[in-house]
Symmetry: D2
């Protein structure tokens, strides 16, 4: 038997991230997604937008066919 | 860059499981471990003991280099 | 961006395995599937049939949306 | 039981890549490593060097505690 999952190499927020404190954000995604933990990966608003910065995932939770991540924004691209 | 993890095909409790309700148990393991969700897998007390039953994982959480799972015991081997 | 894959905990042959030598078999499956390597897992003809034995995967290859595994049959259930 | 693996988000060549044709390279790494397939990921000479370009993995093979990947170099950073 098998279990479907998605290997993710960046954080795509779709503007749905919630700030928990300072630079720490929570994001809920559909399905079970596997992200690398504690490694700087790009944060983007949409799959094809420019990276808004880099984040490092500190917590990942799978339940009810959803993935909740907590990530720290470690650098921010200035856009001007 | 890379992130180490362990692919697990059974639940090895070492007697450290905590009953949360009826057939629902919580277990904390060292390191980041990937378990299949919602699939019956063997539950054993130690790696080499006989299976004590089958469990199905309903929740998995990674944080601080630890993996917490919540699993439902779906069948129990009688041993007598 | 993401990549879909399936976490597999047993080998389901559908009778499509090809014997390469003695106890070594090759099997081609659709999609990218992640199997545990070098760990005894059940070998079944169909998802819901009784296990025909245990196999240990020695090689896994992903290409063109297919997964090819080479597994050694390490035990065989007698059925009579 | 479990199987250790490493989740990789970039290709680190250490100068050991072998050109197979045009833009197609083969690289052998120690251990079992999971890379995203068919997704542009950074190619670097060392973990901390600047990316030399982007590659997309077309084939991944696990055997004998080694991972062999075939990747296509899809963009090259000019360095002058």
């Amino acid at each position: 038997m098998g279990m479907g999952l998605e290997l993710n190499t960046m954080i795509v927020t779709k503007g749905k991230e919630a700030r928990k404190e300072d630079n720490l954000f929570e994001l809920l995604k559909d399905g079970y997604r596997l992200y690398p933990m504690h490694i700087p990966i790009e944060v983007r608003k949409t799959k094809h937008s420019d990276p808004s910065g880099y984040g490092s995932i500190e917590k990942m939770e799978w339940t009810d066919e959803k993935t909740k991540i907590m990530y720290r924004l470690i650098s921010l691209n200035s856009t001007n």
